[in-house]
Symmetry: C2
């Protein structure tokens, strides 16, 4: 009853506010206020319904986004501003950054290094298999296309989008498990590998389109890799050494709110530098979280100071749901009307899932015998916004005047991203409740 009431009330609210906003001329902050109210309400309504049916809250937020983003199918255009205004995209990006920062705060560099070998193998396996399988699917469905297209589709399947998995693990209170550490570590390495693959594949295509070798060089790829790996190593080592000093200086400023501002600045700085090094900003934010010891640093500011985790909590409740709703809004149900596209999309989805299931097998050794390989495989499934970024780059690449990623191919990739994103929360929840299968390795 409550669910039904809240849904009706929500739709009424959205419609009447959207109507009111059209009929007035006003402060430029007005549409932003309206948008935030709709996003917050949608997130909580979705989370409530997901909770009711025993699903992770994040699935509810994603589906609320799908609903809000596809009201145009019913002729309601009043919410287009949520998609068009840069502000909401920026808040969503900050949400992803804060989420990974929060997740990083719950772990440390040392803990992550302990699973370093396992995570590296998982990451490498999780890049090779999806690439090969994606290449194969492309050959089968698009026999007339060049091997450049096949390579690019394969590359699109490589990267893991760790946001969804991190959120589910956090919601289900499993972020401290060994599986969580391996998945998170592998996701960071994945981002480095994805970057390198993207550079290689795009480089080869650009070079082929110019008919010369100057678009791609081994040296270029080497530089890209060095920059990315160098950033991670320098950030982690310098961070662990200098971050406590930075927070001690901050405490000496004796200005209210320094702790929360400094934590955020540190997180944003590493996210910014990661981006300069060619990595995703969320990788930097995660590194910042790993480096910071939330309880210890808070003590520099006096015994009564709230821990950094407590201070970040309300900020994350503001920004993070916007990220997931916004991600849900990118799902265009209209793409499902073309059966050819759907066929390719489903095939890509299948190999995207299967390709990552091999990952779990990369975890071996006696100390890992209790680790659930299924959980790791499922945790690596979502492609989320990383897949979309790859697809968008491919859509911008031309070879002999034709796009590498044509609109139908782009739609197929969207379907793959959609399904892997929406499937992971329930699948991961199910896997976490199962007993791990022991492999004789």
């Amino acid at each position: 009853m409550l669910a039904r009431f809240s849904l009706t009330a929500f739709v009424f609210l959205v419609e009447s506010l959207a109507y009111a906003s059209e009929t007035s001329h006003s402060d430029p902050i007005a549409p932003i206020l309206l948008g935030l109210i709709i996003l917050f309400t949608g997130a909580k309504a979705g989370g409530f319904v997901a909770n009711k049916v025993g699903q992770p809250v994040v699935l509810g937020e994603l589906l609320a986004g799908v609903v809000l983003g596809n009201l145009t199918l019913f002729g309601f255009e009043g919410l287009q501003f949520l998609r068009d205004m840069d502000f909401f995209a920026s808040v969503a990006s900050l949400g992803a950054i804060l989420l990974l920062f929060e997740v990083g705060l719950e772990s440390s560099v040392g803990e992550l290094l302990k699973v370093g070998v396992a995570a590296t193998i998982v990451a490498i396996v999780g890049v090779i298999f999806p690439f090969i399988l994606g290449y194969g699917v492309s050959c089968y469905f698009l026999p007339q296309s060049t091997h450049y297209v096949h390579s690019f589709l394969g590359a699109t399947l490589c990267a893991t989008s760790v946001g969804i998995t991190a959120r589910v693990l956090k919601d289900l209170n499993k972020i401290h498990t060994k599986e969580a550490k391996i998945i998170l570590g592998a996701a960071v390495i994945d981002d480095v590998l994805g970057l390198i693959i993207l550079a290689v594949v795009s480089g080869i295509i650009v070079s082929a389109s110019k008919g010369s070798g100057d678009g791609f060089s081994m040296l270029g790829v080497l530089m890209i890799s060095t920059k990315a790996i160098g950033f991670l190593i320098v950030a982690l080592f310098a961070g662990i050494k200098f971050a406590p000093m930075l927070f001690k200086i901050g405490a000496r400023l004796r200005v209210e709110g320094v702790l929360v501002t400094l934590s955020l600045s540190f997180c944003f700085l590493l996210a910014y530098l990661a981006n300069l090094a060619g990595l995703a900003p969320i990788v930097g934010a995660f590194a910042a979280g790993l480096i910071i010891d939330g309880d210890k640093y808070a003590k520099f500011f006096g015994e009564d100071e709230m821990s950094i985790e407590h201070l970040i909590f309300p900020l994350s409740k503001f920004f993070v749901p916007v990220f997931f709703i916004h991600m849900g809004m990118q799902v265009e149900l209209a793409t499902l009307s073309d059966l050819n596209v759907v066929g390719l999309g489903l095939a890509l989805t299948l190999v995207a899932i299967l390709g990552k299931q091999v990952c779990g097998l990369g975890v071996f050794g006696k100390e890992n015998s209790a680790v659930s390989r299924l959980t790791i495989g499922i945790g690596m499934i979502p492609r989320g916004e990383v897949g979309l970024i790859f697809a968008a780059i491919g859509a911008g690449l031309l070879l002999d005047g034709e796009r590498i990623i044509t609109p139908p191919l782009y739609s197929a990739i969207i379907i793959m991203v959609m399904i892997t994103t929406l499937l992971t929360p329930p699948a991961l929840k199910w896997a976490l409740q199962k007993k791990p299968v022991k492999f004789p390795l």
Copy 2:
């Protein structure tokens, strides 16, 4: 030493990051991350220095904004994006809204009604005198101008920008004093009066420019006033009745983070509705804060839930300093090079200050004998962004093909806004430390 070191380090950080951002092509979130780091660091550095010399933190934030906004005078253009990107303006507006929400949370409708009579008189006196004085200054400095210009300049001096005063009272822990309640109540009424005056003056000018009476009607002004006053009455009464119900329903959702999201949504909703009613969004946010009982509502969510004040704290530390730095950045020191403009600007400033000093005299009666009239007079001084909005509207009005507010007039208004804004924090601090002068009224 620390102050000097932090300044040098800050300038170095800003320069090298701004350089780095120019040389890379990257995620669209990158400039936002960079901007937030600069704004946060600037706010804390400014706050630290202000603290050191015994001034309110907000003055340091404003001056940090002045510095960051005027680096162009030294040929450094790298921070223009802070002024140009809509994102920062939006965050600044949300900062003002959250600040007034926070201030409202520390009071209640009942407490404010107790000072209702005093606040109303203060507001009315504080509108009449600045208007007359502003009109006079305009007659003296611009004898060749029409009385439309004089009226508009007078109107620009009416509105109080309560953000600065609220922040100083909060920083100095004086938000619970009777003076604070009178100032805050008067500021809300001021906003209603300012709205009516703006409607009347603009209406008369538009009507004069059309050479007919159809741009202005008594009925129109009556409608504008009714809408604004009606909103306040309905919002406060309906809010007090229905808000507890809303939060009880929210608590039944049992989704993490509902309390903070619901509080924000309620605040944003009233800010949005205030804007629809023609008032400033911050008036709605303040009303939302008055309605919500932060401790009591948190209890609906269980005994261990943090109070709403605690949950809003980190959000306010994120958004509010951006508002003040952004306000400081609007100060263009270059306007100070034209002596005629400076002369008019200083004269306007003088009457802006004197006009509001009469306010304090509006507080009489035995129950108010201990109230510091000086504090109230000074608390009403800042014109801030409200003055700027008035000036911008004036710049858009044409009469016989000429602008009502010409660029030099606009600069003079900016100078008045600048000085009243920067002067209030130290003056208010000084007044709060003095013993009140008892008037024989």
